[in-house]
Amino acid sequence: MGGHEWRNEYAKKAASVMSEVSYSQALNMALREEMRRDPRVFCLGEDIKESTYGVTRGLYEEFGPRRVIGTPISETAIAGAALGAALVGMRPVAEFMYMTFMMSAMDQLVNQAAKMKYMFGGRALLPIVFRTMAGAGRSNAAQHTQSLETWFAHAPGLKVVMPSTPYDAKGLLKTAIRDDNPVIFIENKLLYATAKEQVPVAEYTIPFGQAAVRRTGEHVTIVGLQRMVEIALAAAAELASAGIEAEVIDPRTLVPLDLDTIVASVQKTHRLIVVHEAHERMGAGAEIIAQVVAHAFDYLDAPPQRIANPNVPTPFNRMLEELSIPSVAQVVAAVQSLLS
């Protein structure tokens, strides 16, 4: 995945010693480094000792049963326990195996964790990371594929992070763990294994609220969320052969959102497409487009477009599921239509 431009940019910033790692290994590195750095950091969640997707693999062996806590299948308890532990000075990293499972814990996540600082008049630090995994593409049908980032982005008090590369996964998770707010940290099911790149062995973090320009171009801006960055880059490569240069922006964090980078890009390209896996209706695309319209209306040469999952649950059938996820062909067609 990805072009070489931005990888080189990272390499300049980072230490010279690199290691080829997958997205899940990068997350594992971040957890290990932060747990070594701060004894208040601990992990809890279902089957995290064995680790279904490898993110917490080996941590139990290094940090033991009081820092790597396998819980019952009790999402409300996981979320509430993370919150309670934070209130007495710990820095929990709670895992929800699938984002769908967070629906079982919405009271603790949205009624409690998100609001507590405000309700307490600011007199609380809530350094909690709620890690989870979203996205479709593995025939998991409707309940194990949801991308619910906007549910959480809608709740003041939560930050929402969506890394698309191993480098970002590591740097953003370290930032999330050091942040004093509840962070919804969304990982992607397919990227765990498919995304691989050179990641510095040395310490680095990535600040929240700084989008990455994955490819520069002057004809159209494509904002992609998480795995849709891949789709956008593939579409951009295809369009380039037809002489169309797309600028691809990866917001990396939805809350806080780096609107400046997106607006600056649209002021240059005059066209905007937002691509995400979440359903189209009331999705992040709606918010991003509304913000761009408010801030760069006079620069727009065409109505901004959304490419997203249709407003249906994810089907099981492989062909139907494929149809439900934004595709390279859809993005290419949308760009061509915007420019025609």
Binding site: G121, R123, A124
Partner: protein, 337 residues
């Protein structure tokens, strides 16, 4: 003061005379505070949604006296008594109830979210049973650190039927966390009688499902609540895990101020006020033990009424929060996203 010949033989749980008197004073502070809240609310000097703790004072007073500094509590929508028993001051509490800038939460929480982490008060809570997993988490933090603090969760009989009850207590029991789950069974989940909600006789019976002790105490008996909580705290500090305590209590007021109370007979409430008033009962005991007499009780009452009046004066003379506060405190550090 000499002990009267008729003094009953009671287990004082190792408490000295002053500690016993203090139980009464704590309950009285809660009672008078709540009575004043009711009066202010009915006079429209205080707004919002208010749930009074009158009738249940012995639970908070007994339980919190069994805790140490550093121990924490999570509370409910009926949380004023818990806060007072845990050491919160009446002035900033009343100010919070009035939404004033000098309240514990700068007026942003109100009655149902009053909190003071400095006092180990992790918050009243507008969501039934939500404090259970939160207390489990505080206990988890203590357990990870290997420290000796305890987390105590107050919840109601209504909360005992919420999924969070099962998840929180089960998780705490699996790790033998230093937690105490204290059910204040006041016999009504808002309007619905507990007999309709509970297919077993006691909430405490459910402890068996988690392999932890289930203890029933008379919630109008402050000493009994204290004794049960102290034993639960000792057990928790010794690494033996949580205890589920059920205090059978009764709220003398409606679920909230303004509740028409059509679901229970006036006679039932009147009988409870006569027979199950924790203050009257404990005053009788103190009298029988020769630890306080009519003059003492008058003195306590005068002092507490003065303290409550001062809290009201403080709250009413306090400024409203600045409009700037609307947008702050959503996030740390700068408070904005």
């Amino acid at each position: 003061m000499s002990t009267l010949p008729s003094a009953p033989s009671i287990n004082r749980e190792g408490l000295n005379d002053d500690q016993l008197r203090q139980f009464y004073v704590t309950m009285l502070r809660i009672r008078r505070f709540e009575e004043k809240v009711k009066e202010l609310f009915l006079d429209a000097r205080l707004y919002g949604s208010v749930h009074l703790y009158i009738g249940e004072e012995a639970v908070a007073a007994g339980a919190c006296a069994a805790l140490r500094d550093g121990d924490v509590i999570s509370s409910t929508h009926r949380g004023h008594g818990h806060g007072i028993a845990k050491g919160l001051e009446l002035g900033p509490m009343m100010a919070e109830l009035m939404g004033k800038a000098t309240g514990y939460n700068f007026g942003k929480g109100g009655s149902m979210h009053i909190a003071s982490l400095d006092h180990g008060m992790l918050g009243a809570n507008g969501i039934v049973a939500a404090g259970i997993p939160i207390a489990t988490g505080a206990a988890l933090g203590f357990w990870i650190r290997g420290s000796r603090e305890v987390a105590l969760c107050f919840f109601g009989d209504g909360g005992a039927n919420h999924g969070a009850f099962h998840e929180g207590i089960n998780f705490a029991a699996t790790l033998k966390l230093p937690a105490i789950f204290l059910c204040e069974n006041n016999h009504y989940a808002q309007y619905q009688p507990v007999t309709q909600d509970l297919p077993v006789s006691n909430v405490a019976d459910r402890a068996a499902a988690y392999g932890i002790p289930g203890v029933i105490v008379d919630g109008a008996d402050v000493l009994a609540v204290y004794a049960a909580t102290r034993r639960a705290a000792e057990r928790a500090r010794a690494g033996e895990g949580p205890t589920l305590i059920e205090a059978k209590t009764y709220r003398f007021e409606g679920h909230f101020l303004g509740d028409p109370e059509s679901y229970r007979a006036k006679e039932e409430v009147a009988a409870a006020r006569t027979e199950r008033d924790p203050l009257t009962r404990f005053a009788t005991l103190l009298t029988q033990l020769g630890l306080a007499g009519a003059e003492d009780f008058q003195r306590y009452d005068d002092a507490v009424r003065q303290e409550v009046a001062a809290a009201v004066a403080f709250a009413e003379s306090s400024p409203e929060p600045s409009p700037d506060l609307l947008l702050t405190d959503v996030y740390d550090v700068d408070g904005r996203a």
